[in-house]
Amino acid sequence: MINSVFGYSPLLIALVTLLTPLASAVVIALFLRRAGGIASLVSTLTAAVVAAGGLSLAFSGARFGVNELQQAEWLHLGSFTLSLGIKFDDLSALMISIVGVVGLCVHVFSLGYMHDDEAKARYFGGLSIFMFSMLGIVLADNLFMIFIFWELVGFSSYVLINHYHQKQSAADASKKAFIANRVGDFGFLLGIIACYYAFGTVNLTEIGTVAAGGVSANVIALLLFCGAVGKSAQVPLHVWLPDAMEGPTPVSALIHAATMVAAGIFMLCRIEPLFAASPIALDVVTWIGAATALYAALCAITQSDIKKVLAYSTLSQLGYMVAAFGLGRLDVVPEGASGSLTFITAGAGAAMFHLTTHAFFKALMFLGSGSVIHGCHHEQNIFKMGGLWKKMPLTFITFTLGVLAIIGMPGLAGFFSKDAILYLAMENNTPVFVILAISAVLTAFYMVRLWKLVFIGAPRSDEASHAHEGGISMTLPLIVLAVLSVVGGWATIFGGKLSIYGDKFAQIFSQIPEAHGADHMTILIVSIIVMTLGAGAALLFYKSESTDTLAAKAPTAFCSLNCLQGSFDTIYNGYVAKVQQPFAKALDLTERILISGLIIRGLAGVTGLVGLGARALHTGSLHTYVYWFLGGAAILWAFAGGWIN
């Protein structure tokens, strides 16, 4: 137990790390809205503070809020108390390091990429509020607090996707992202309430204690999983992520590839004791993950927008992580041993490991694509690029490293984490293993296709032939992330001697499934075959042309892949047009007749009638009034005399 980091208490450092981005967002929103230059510096400085704070906490080994609670009461509602607290274990330490490093890289990259943007202040303010929200999720010690920051992340994502709000497509995309997330969040909220109802607590540590007793909680686990389905864009709520590419490219790198969408996986790992005792929920999670991995990989093949390819690739990799989580781990915890707090059944180790490496190489590739888009004067169509390796050598080298990492080139980050997942699947669930292996082939296929079309051959447009490398602020993050994409996977090889993580995240990395002996050979061979198959096919198949080779040679396959990609949107649009809209109209009609018709207009009508009658009494003639007076006096007299009771 470490009680001080650089002489300060770890709790204080955690609070500073959490609140600095909030302060930055507030300052930018209140004072710096017209001063984009200063706002960008403030925000980037904040990201540096976050990275420094997060890394110093994570690597000093300070862990708190695990056994003893670090929380403050926030809200009393009857017998229910809502606390805000911090839980900083190995999981959140790993996550805060990723968010800090990737966040800083993206901020620095944005300095260059967004240099000429008119609404720079809003953009950097959005980044700051996003950092705050994300750190809140990472540090939260109970589900309600996670939910609060979860929604804040949704809000900041909305702001950032909608950055180019003059564009109708960007406005639609941000709305779509928000609504799709709401659907998942509804399930998440129900899950939290069900959790409180069933266990009487939403504190993560206490849930762990309760769940360690072997309580089966399939329904609660699945409801909570809904939140992850929305945020981590799993089938069937994945539709928002490809559209979210309407936002600025660094945003796509930070939010829609490396951190926010990973929040779903992180949240699953947070509540994994719940899943540990819920085999049905784990099966559902596995299959949804596998389905997403395969579906998104298929969709990625036909995309012509550089960011869309990366978006579907992100979906596919997220599917990998979710599937890995659901697959569980290799050795089953014996019955008697389930009393201990640290027992882990779900495949959190493999999922978090892949999350880590994926964050590095996907952020690298997104920033690389940002560099390409910036260099080509905002041309995003890969068929209008080509030959960029000569014009943008640094982007080319780093992007190539990213591609090699994601397709699983031995020695690079993606190789280790993907192998861990494939091995887990091979041992536990053969059909899922086959699906994941096919997705891996497809991943290699579409990534190499992208790489070849963008960088190899001759330039196919004026923009591409005049492409140029961005400034230092755009190349530096690429280099940092490229290095991390190479070494990020060396967590456990050679007994962890080469690991950049040291032994700081032992709780997570000790859970990474490792193949030994014959299994090791098998998985290595499978993995290399998968990679060469996909990459080789793409290299041979695609020509450096301005049309899609697949569309030219096999139009049927191309069309069916396109239909597959659009199928969910078609179904949802059909549902909205055929089911939801008539239902809304029926509701509207009922409202018009019953509420505004009968109740509101009815009340007004009755009042009006009474008024009409009362008005008739006023004739304006003095004599009529005297008669009314006489009548009144007669009735009063009758009362007084007792003739009327």
């Binding site: 006023h618 304006g620 003639s621 003095l622 006489l630």
Partner: protein
């Protein structure tokens, strides 16, 4: 014939009825006003009669109050009628129907 309380009350009732029907039926505001005064006076007759036959001063005291209030009322009422006439050139009630609608 002796004049008892009944005779006073008959007189009072007759005067009151004359005043009341005057208010109901006459069209001239001034006449209506005089009829109102007649009703007040009719009630004071009854009060004085009660006071006399009960050997108390209550009724008499009441009458003083009523006369005082009536005098004040006349001052205000006549002023209103004069002002009304100046403005509208009439004091016939059927033409004074500005309250209608």
């Amino acid at each position: 014939m002796t004049v008892g309380i009944n005779e006073y009350l008959y007189l009072s009732a007759i005067l009151f009825a004359i005043g009341f029907f005057g208010v109901l039926l006459r069209k001239n505001t001034l006449v209506i006003y005089m009829c109102l005064e007649l009703m007040l006076v009719a009630s004071t007759v009854a009060l004085v009669a009660f006071s006399h036959f009960n050997q108390t001063m209550d009724g008499n005291v009441f009458v003083f109050f009523i006369l005082t209030v009536a005098a004040a009322e006349v001052a205000v009422g006549l002023a209103i009628i004069v002002a009304l006439f100046r403005r509208r050139q009439t004091i016939q009630v059927e033409e004074l129907n500005a309250l209608k609608n």
